[in-house]
């Protein structure tokens, strides 16, 4: 992974010292809250419903075990023994104090982590495929580009005050696991006929109250020009993006208002002036960053598929886990393992300090001392030897991190919702818990197949509800919490926004409604169809009837 150089260290340490002085001045009353708030937000410190919340960046979701142990220490010493992994592959602490924050930031700096730009109207944490550099289906490692963009955008004075926050995601695989189409800028890497890499650039995607699927502004750009092209987009946005209305300030609104063609024209004009200039990335620099992400020295191993199948036959629980929670690795004899943070009834994305330490121990033992955070709020061991699968599974099961549900119905994304968030309309976590307790039968989950449920507690959509196969949005109806369902959303290479199913439901009715939707799908599906396939084929009508029309024939499964 990337390691700080002298310059990075100095910059981060100076920033911590500066914030320490700012906090002291705030506590002394030299700064008012109005003066201080933008300063604390620049360092990732929010005031939430109950307390201060600190959001710490995990650049493109990659963590060393040394970093995870530090995160555990922070949870233990400065918070309430846990942290929450978010849809930006970051971690949030919900109970930190202002007085402690400079010490927390100093502790993070020791392991090359920061909370800079995790908030505010700037370029936020760059996100990527959690399988980056390892997936069998990958063309290019996106982390190299994420790191280059991170360095370019960190404390870039020109873009410190954008009209609104700005999110960038990169995928190097044709199977998009990074939801790039719902980002302000989404980058997809492709190969040309000669096998040379390049980027397709999407712009103006986003969620929130006006969800938009990003559009391709350029279908090919050579890698060395990617920063100048991003700069051209940021400049056009900085200049023309609206600053008078917070709800109309994201780049998607500008792209919609101008139309993609006009927007492209402005960007291309800007880029014509920048192209070939100082933002062109020298080959040595690309190579230098690539070296940080060079594949580790994998052992020469043989595929253990047959042996694992035999183990699975002897131990069906292991088989279910193998089927759902692992993915194909590019090196023979290796595999990618997902750690589910979605055990039955668990708060999606939460992990306590002790288990952080245990996970770090396991990653040292089984996955070359590194792990990943996924935007679906799980953890990933990217370099596991297949011959260790059974042993790792046993260890993970003991920690409650081996629920065989990755990509299945109970692998839900849920934002913090009204239990923590000052902006919420409704609680998300209890809804996720209800659904998870309703669908505990592994056989049924696996029979249902791949199905994402995403839950947000308000229309800011941090829980990605618009792009869940089933989306759940918390709404406030005269002081009561209700939940609006959408169907058909997707965040992969065929990204789509969900369609509204019908009137919002009270919390108690949500699990049964999900069950009716699922049963309707099981009734209608043709061989091998996923939920989404069936939905796209039959449309919303039968599902509407299944949920709202009590005269419809509803098959109930005990």
């Amino acid at each position: 992974m990337y390691r700080y150089d002298e310059f990075d260290h100095r910059l981060v340490n100076e920033r911590v010292a500066q914030f320490r002085r700012q906090v002291a001045r705030r506590l002394d009353g030299e700064l008012t809250e109005d003066q201080f708030k933008p300063l604390r937000l620049m360092n990732g410190l929010y005031l939430q419903l109950h307390a201060y919340m600190l959001r710490v960046n995990v650049p493109y979701g990659v963590l060393s075990t040394r970093q995870l142990r530090k995160l555990a220490m922070i949870a233990r010493r400065y918070d309430r023994d846990y942290g929450h992994f978010t849809t930006r592959q970051n971690i949030q602490y919900n109970w930190v104090s202002l007085e402690d924050t400079p010490d927390i930031l100093a502790a993070l700096a020791e392991v090359e982590m920061t909370a800079m730009q995790s908030s505010g109207n700037c370029v936020r944490n760059i996100t990527a495929d959690q399988y980056a550099g390892r997936a069998a289906d990958e063309l290019e490692d996106p982390r190299v580009w994420c790191e280059l963009i991170r360095q370019y955008s960190l404390l870039n004075p020109e873009f410190a005050y954008l009209p609104r926050k700005f999110k960038i995601a990169v995928t190097g695989s044709p199977n998009d696991r990074a939801a790039v189409a719902v980002h302000d800028i989404g980058l997809r890497m492709h190969h040309d006929d000669n096998g040379r890499a390049g980027f397709e650039v999407l712009v103006g995607g986003g969620q929130g109250r006006t969800p938009v699927i990003g559009r391709t502004i350029r279908d090919w750009i050579e890698p060395e020009h990617i920063l100048s092209y991003i700069e051209a987009i940021l400049r056009v946005y900085n200049l023309y993006g609206r600053r008078d209305n917070i709800y109309k300030a994201r780049i998607k609104i500008l792209v919609n208002a101008l139309g993609i063609d006009k927007f492209r024209e402005l960007v291309e004009t800007e880029w014509a002036a920048l192209r070939g200039g100082e933002l062109t990335i020298p080959e040595e620099e690309i190579e230098r960053i690539e070296r940080y992400f060079a594949p580790p020295a994998w052992e020469t191993l043989f595929d253990q598929g047959e042996a694992m199948r035999a183990q699975a036959a002897a131990e069906p629980e292991f088989g279910a886990w193998l089927e759902a929670n692992t993915a194909a690795h590019k090196a023979p004899g290796y595999m990618i393992v997902n750690l589910s943070l979605k055990a039955t009834g668990h708060e999606p994305g939460d992990l306590d300090a002790d288990r952080m330490d245990r996970v770090a121990d396991l990653a040292d033992r089984f996955s070359l001392g590194e792990l990943r955070v996924s935007h679906r709020q799980n953890l990933v061991f990217a370099d596991v030897r297949q011959q260790d699968a059974l042993e790792l599974w046993r260890a993970l099961r003991e920690l409650g991190l081996a629920t065989p549900n990755i990509g299945k119905l109970t692998d839900m994304i849920a934002c913090p919702g009204l239990d923590y968030c000052a902006l919420a309309n409704a609680r998300s976590i209890p809804v996720a818990q209800d659904i998870s307790r309703h669908f505990t039968a592994v056989d049924k989950l696996h029979a249902i197949g791949d199905l994402t449920i995403n839950i947000s507690g308000c229309m800011n959509a941090c829980g990605h509800h618009h792009v869940g196969n089933i989306g759940i949005l918390g709404v406030d109806k005269q002081g009561q919490e209700f939940f609006q369902l959408t169907l058909g959303g997707a965040s992969d290479q065929h990204a789509a926004l969900g369609d509204r199913l019908g009137r919002a439901l009270p919390q108690a009715e949500v699990p049964a409604a999900i069950e009716r939707i699922v049963d309707c799908y099981l009734d209608l599906r043709a061989a091998d169809e996923t939920f989404l396939d069936t939905y796209r084929r039959v449309g919303i009508k039968p599902f509407k009837a299944a949920v709202y029309d009590d005269t419809a024939e509803v098959r109930r499964v005990a």
Partner: protein, 92 residues
Amino acid sequence: MTQVLTANRLGDGQVVFLTADGNWSTAIGDSLVAADDAFAEELLALGQRAERECEVIGPYLIEVRQEAGTIEAVAIREAIRANGPTVAYGPA
């Protein structure tokens, strides 16, 4: 409308309520209750002074219900804010 004054403590961010002796408590049950708007305005003025003195931030009034000696926030949001998350958290 029966109201109490709430804020967050500046140093540690905890949710606090203004008490009869002019202190701030983390328990809503300790709150000084204003039975009418005029008194509530006085509480708010006290809160604003405490904010200037860097004790708390963002003081505001919330509606409460008093029953059998307890004080409960009326709105769900305020009840959750006063009582903490409705879900378990941290180590099992």
